[in-house]
Structure formats: C-alpha cells, structure tokens
C-alpha cells in the first residue's frame, strides 16, 4: 500500500512552519540557524516527494544542490556566529542589531 502524497506534503508543511516559527521567535542564533536548516529540509522533502510521485529524477538531483548549498551556508553562517560571539560575547540575536541606519 502506498502512503498518499498528501501525508508527505503535510509533514513537509508542518516542518516548514516549525522552521518559520523557530526563526522568528528564538533568540539564540544557533537555534535560529537550525530552524533555517529545518526549513531547507522541509523543502528537500517536498522535492523528493514530487520526484518519486512523478517518476522524475530531477527533483532528487536538486535535493543534492540544496544540501550542498545548505552545507556551505552552515559553514559560513557558523563562522559568522563564532566571529560575532568573539566580538560581543553573545549569540543572542536581539542584541546583535548593528546592521541599522
């Protein structure tokens, strides 16, 4: 028996929403960062779902792109967070608001 496509999509949407809420509400930059990863993964899940549903490998191919980009982003992002922490001794993003007028 095949699990209906809706289940996958609902899961993916749920994960995405969790990610959004995480990005918007958490203070810790690391957690925000993880929420972003969650959103990316939900997108990956959607890609894979459609790929297998439509029998087209392109979607799975793109997942690899996304994972590669996510990895690169994680590397740069974490590096920035470390740099900020060394400067400000905090990763609380409420306090990191130097990027204004």
């Amino acid at each position: 028996m095949q699990i209906p496509i809706e289940y996958y999509l609902i899961l993916s949407a749920f994960m995405f929403s969790v990610g959004i809420v995480g990005v918007l509400t958490r203070r810790n930059a690391i957690v925000v960062f993880m929420s972003v990863e969650l959103m990316l993964n939900s997108a990956n899940l959607t890609l894979i779902t459609f790929s297998s549903y439509l029998g087209d490998a392109t979607g799975q191919l793109f997942v690899f792109f996304v994972m590669a980009v996510a990895a690169a982003e994680a590397a740069v992002g974490l590096a920035i967070i470390i740099a900020i922490f060394r400067n400000k001794l905090t990763v609380n993003i409420d306090e990191i608001n130097i990027l204004k007028w």
């Binding site: 990005v23 918007l24 925000v32 993003i93 409420d94 130097i98 204004k100």
Partner: protein, 647 residues
C-alpha cells in the same frame, strides 16, 4: 592729406603704446614728453593739411570717407573702422589736436618731476586717440567707441593721483563717479542707437541721415531717438540732470581739466547733437527739450559759480554753464553757432584752466582764491593771458567769446523767444561777475598769502608759451565768425563753411527769422552792457569795497549756503538714488532674496528630504528577526491573494 586722416588717430595710438609700454623703462621725461606731444603735433599738421585740401574741393564734394577695415558684420549691421572727413569733423579735429598739442606741451612743464610722468602722457595720448575716433567716426558705433574711450581716459586721469584725498573723499572716487554718471548717459545713447538701427536699418551716418529725410518715419520716433541721444549728451557734457560729475572731475591734474573737462571731451555731446542735426530738426519737441535743459543748466551752473572759492571749481561750473549755452544754440537750431562756441570756448577755457594751473603751480597746490591776491606782479604772463581769457568769456568785443556768445543769444531770441534770451543775458551777466571775481581775487588787490612761506613766481617757458598761444587764439579766434551784418558780402565765414553739413536740417526747420538789423544790434548792445555790468560789480564788490561781498553773503545766508553746496544736488542723488539701490541690493536682494528665499528654498528642500529619510530609516531596526517577520507576512499576503484570486 585727407587720405592720411587715419594717421591723426594712429599717431596718438602710437604715442599711447610707446609711452605705455616703454615709458616705465625710459624714465626720461624729455623722450616721453616729446613722443607724447610730438604725435599730437603731427596729427595737428595732418588735420591742417586735410583742411586745406578740403578747402580746395568744390563745396558739394567736401565729404570724404576713409575706410580702414571691417569691424562688425552681422546681418544688416555692417560697421567699418571708417573715418568721415567733412567740414564739421575737420573743425573739431583742428580744435582737439591743436588745443591738445598746446596742452601736451604745457603738461611737460606742469608734470615735471611727477613719479608717474610716463603714465600721464600715456593716458593723454589715449585720450586724443579716443577723441579723434569720436570726431572722425563715420558711424554711430565708432563714435561710441570714442565716446566711451574718452570716458575711460577721463576716469583714469581724474584718478591719476590715485592715493590722494580729494575733498571729503578720494580722487579715485571722483573718477569713479565720472565714469558711472557717464555710463548712465551712455545707456541713453545705446538705446538711441538701437532705435536708429531698428528704424533706419543702419548705423552709418550718411545712410541714417539720408534715410531720415527719405523714410516716412513718425515724429515720435524721431523725438525718442533725439531724446535718447541727448541723454547721452547730458552725461558727457555735464548737463542737468547728469552734471554732478564735472565739479568732482577737478580732482585730476590741471592740464587734464583743461583738455578733457573744458576744451574737448565735454563738448563731445554738442558735437554729437550737431552731427545728428537732421534727426533733431525732425523732432521739434526734442529741440525744445535740448534748449530748455541747455539754458537752465547755463543759468543754474552760473549761480553756483558765483560763490565757489576753489579756483578750479569756479572754472568747472563756468564750463557747465558755457556748455549749457552751446545746447541752447543747438536747441534753437543754430547748429553752427553751437559749434562756433565749442571752438572759442576751447580756446579761452583751456587758457583759463592752464592759467589756473600756472597759479596753482606757483602757489604750491593752494587752490583757494581767498588765499591768493596781488599775483599780477609775480606772474605777468599768466596774469595777462588770464585777463584776456576772462574778458573773452565775459563777452566783451572784440574777443572771441563775444562773437560766439552773442550769436547764440541772438538765435535764442529769434528762434525760441524772449524768455530764453533773457535767461541767457542774465547768465552772461553772472558769468562776467564770477569770472572777474576770480580775476580780482587772484591777481589784483592785497596779497592774502604768507609771503614768507610762499614765493609766487612765473612758470617756466614750457608753460607760458602755450598760455600765450592760447591767449592769441582767444583774442582773435572770433574773427572767423563775424556776424553777417558787420562783414557784409562775405557773410559769416564760419557759418558758410559749416553750412553744407547743416543744410538739410536748416531747411527742415525753416526758422530764418525776419528780424531787422536794428533789433540785432540792439540785443548785441544789451548783452555787452550785461557783461560790462558784471565786471563792474565784481570790481566794486571785491576790489573797491571788499566788505560789500561779505555783507551780501551774510545777508542772504540761506541762499548763499544753498549755492555754496551746489543746491545739495550730490546729497539729493545720494539719498534718492544711490543709497536706496545699494542698501536695497544689500539688505533685500542679497541678504533676504538670495540667501534666505532662493538659496533657502533649495537648502530647505534638501533638509526636507533629509528629514523624511531620517524618519523612515527607523524602520531598519537591525534586528534580523523583524525583517524576517515582515518578509514572511509579505509572502503570506501574496499567497492569500493568489488563493483568493484563483478560487
């Protein structure tokens, strides 16, 4: 030599360039003086040659135009550097180069030892250059070049001793005043030229004047042209209302006053009006204006001259007054009489100024006549020539001034009416009075200077010879214009000579008065009596009973003060014209209009943009999460809109 007439312009130019460029290096007064006056002398010789050559020509062919090169050529405006030799310009050239030469020679003596000797001759030569352009020009534009050029030289020469004080102010201020007042006149002259060009399509004399006869131009256009040009003339010739600069012009060295502010430049206005006789003849209203301004200026200036104590000031007001006579003549349609007076006036007024210069020279720059007296025995030549000139200007026959002045008075009666004549005669009386007041206070009576400190002496030959030359001219210069009633069949020589120039204007005026010879002789006698009466009263009040003068002055203290202060004309102009413009420009235009309103608008506009940006920039909080929230809200709204619009 007619065809070499341009050399009368180029020689002074050469002198100007030579002295101007090499003068400071040569430093030798002899070389500079010889070059400076020699060039003028040569110009004079050429002018004399041209005169004789012209005399040999038939009367109707006495107009030659010498074209040098093109100046401006735009559309219909085609102007050349071209010189017109005719009876009128020859008379003027002879006066300018002749009297000019004499004064140049005099200046070598007068300016001896001045640290800027070279500069003086540079300016003088430039002046003659400009003046010759003015006189010989065959078109209005070249005339204007000379017109402004002489104004420039006047400016430079009045302020020649630029570091000296003059009365309440400085010589430089006096020069500036002269230039600016002249510019106001030139403004009128320019407008006149524009109107001539747009009416007749040319600025060349021969074209304009022939078209003035043939074109059907409404009279009010002629009147406007004439009035505009006359405004120019009032500036240059110091007539009401632009006369204020000439008394101040006395700040310059005395030879300058003689040459520029008496003999030549100030008569440029008279020359110009005479040159445009046909235009004035076509505009009776303008003629009337000229006559009224002329006679009024003559009287007005003479009254001021009565009480002045500075020897040069008296002469300055006398000049203004005599210029008024000339305009009276022009306004009466007696153009050649006006030019005749220009000539005789050049002789005796230049002589008066040079004589005054000689006195000032020997009195160590004291100019107040109350501190002179009894100079007769110290400087006989100056005394003699001065007396000749003073008698000439007072209109005593047979000296030159008598003939020219009497002719003017006669025409003012014949063509304008008894009122003009009467004011003219009263002015003649005043003239005789103040000239002899000056003469008696200076040369006769008691010595009022400290004879231990001051040792008056006769001036050197370089100065006295010119005085004698001018003295001779003042004495006999009038004989070429003996009135018809005395000379019989020959007629008035001067008049006949100039007649072709003014022929068309005189035909247009048709005012050959039908008055009897008896009337003419009667009026002549009255004017002689007026002159003698003036001299007598001066003798009575200043020599016979010196107390009379002071008593009169104190009795009419108010009037005396008004006259002494020149009717407060300077102060009136200062308060009504100069101050409002300067203060208005500074306080309203610059500080309020420019800085606050115009620039303020621009700066406030910039500030407004700055303020708005300053307000909206606060949206950029720098908190990444709020940016994300806004973004997500945006996405949600977009999604919602998609869903709604699809369903």
């Amino acid at each position: 030599m007619i065809h070499l007439i341009y050399l009368t312009v180029l020689f002074p130019l050469f002198g100007f360039l030579f002295n101007g460029i090499l003068g400071p290096k040569i430093k030798n007064e002899k070389v500079i003086g010889i070059i400076g006056s020699g060039t003028i002398g040569i110009a004079f010789i050429i002018a004399v040659g041209a005169l004789f050559e012209t005399l040999a020509l038939p009367v109707d062919q006495r107009l030659t135009i010498i074209t040098l090169f093109q100046w401006i050529d735009v559309a219909g405006l085609n102007i050349h550097f071209a010189y017109q030799v005719d009876q009128l310009s020859l008379v003027m050239s002879l006066v300018v180069t002749g009297v000019g030469f004499i004064i140049h020679v005099y200046s070598i003596g007068y300016m001896h030892g001045d640290k800027s000797f070279w500069r003086f001759f540079t300016y003088l030569n430039l002046f003659i250059f400009a003046m010759m352009n003015l006189i010989l020009a065959d078109n209005f534009l070249l005339l204007f070049l000379g017109w402004e050029g002489v104004g420039l030289c006047s400016y430079l020469l009045i302020g020649f001793w630029y570091d000296r004080k003059f009365e309440k102010s400085t010589t430089a201020s006096a020069g500036l005043k002269a230039f600016i007042v002249n510019r106001i006149g030139d403004f009128g002259f320019l407008l006149g030229m524009f109107l001539i060009y747009s009416t007749f399509g040319s600025l060349i004399f021969t074209d304009v004047f022939s078209r003035a006869l043939s074109f059907n131009v409404p009279e009010h256009i002629f009147t406007l042209i004439a009035i505009f040009l006359f405004i120019g003339a009032t500036g240059k010739s110091a007539q009401i209302p632009l006369l204020v600069w000439l008394p101040d012009a006395m700040a310059g060295p005395t030879p300058v006053s003689a040459l520029i502010h008496a003999a030549t430049m100030v008569t440029a206005g008279v020359y110009m009006v005479a040159r445009c006789s046909i235009i004035y003849a076509s505009a009776p209203t303008a003629m009337m204006v000229v006559a009224v301004i002329g006679v009024f200026t003559a009287f007005f200036a003479a009254t001021i001259g009565l009480v002045q104590n500075d020897i040069k000031k008296v002469l300055a007001y006398s000049t203004i007054s005599q210029l008024g006579y000339m305009f009276l003549a022009l306004g009466a349609g007696a153009f050649s009489a006006g030019i005749f007076h220009v000539m005789t006036h050049a002789f005796f007024k230049a002589l008066l100024f040079l004589g005054a210069g000689s006195v000032i020279h020997s009195m160590h720059d004291v100019q107040d006549i109350r501190h002179y007296g009894g100079l007769k025995k110290y400087m006989p030549i100056t005394y003699g020539t001065f007396l000749v000139a003073a008698t000439a200007i007072s209109g005593i026959p047979p000296l030159s001034g008598f003939f020219s002045k009497d002719e003017i008075l006669w025409y003012s009666y014949a063509n304008l009416g008894i009122v003009f004549w009467l004011i003219g005669v009263i002015t003649a009386l005043l003239t005789a009075f103040y000239m002899f007041r000056l003469y008696f206070l200076t040369f006769e009576g008691k010595e009022k200077f400290d004879s231990h400190k001051t040792h008056p002496h006769e001036s050197p030959k370089l100065m006295t010879v010119p005085l004698i030359a001018l003295g001779v001219l003042s004495a006999i210069g009038g004989f070429i214009g003996i009135p018809e009633i005395f000379s019989g069949d020959h007629g008035n020589l001067f008049h006949t000579w100039l007649a072709p120039v003014f022929k068309s204007a005189e035909i247009k005026l048709m005012n050959i008065g039908s008055h009897s010879h008896f009337e003419e002789i009667l009026f002549m006698a009255i004017s002689i009596v007026a002159g003698v009466a003036g001299i007598y009263y001066a003798w009575y009040a200043y020599l016979k009973k010196p107390a009379v003068a002071d008593k009169t002055a104190s009795r009419f203290k108010g009037a005396y003060n008004i006259l002494l202060n020149k009717y407060f004309l300077d102060e009136a102009y200062e308060a009504s014209v100069v101050n409002p413009i300067v203060k208005g420009s500074e306080n309203i235009l610059w500080k309020i209009a420019d800085n606050r309103i115009i620039d303020g608008t621009i700066n406030n506009l910039a500030k407004l943009v700055d303020n708005i940006s300053g307000t909206i920039k606060k949206i950029q909080t720098g908190v990444a999460q709020s940016y994300a929230l806004v973004m997500i809200l945006g996405v949600l709204i977009a999604l919602l809109w998609l869903i709604i619009s699809y369903s």
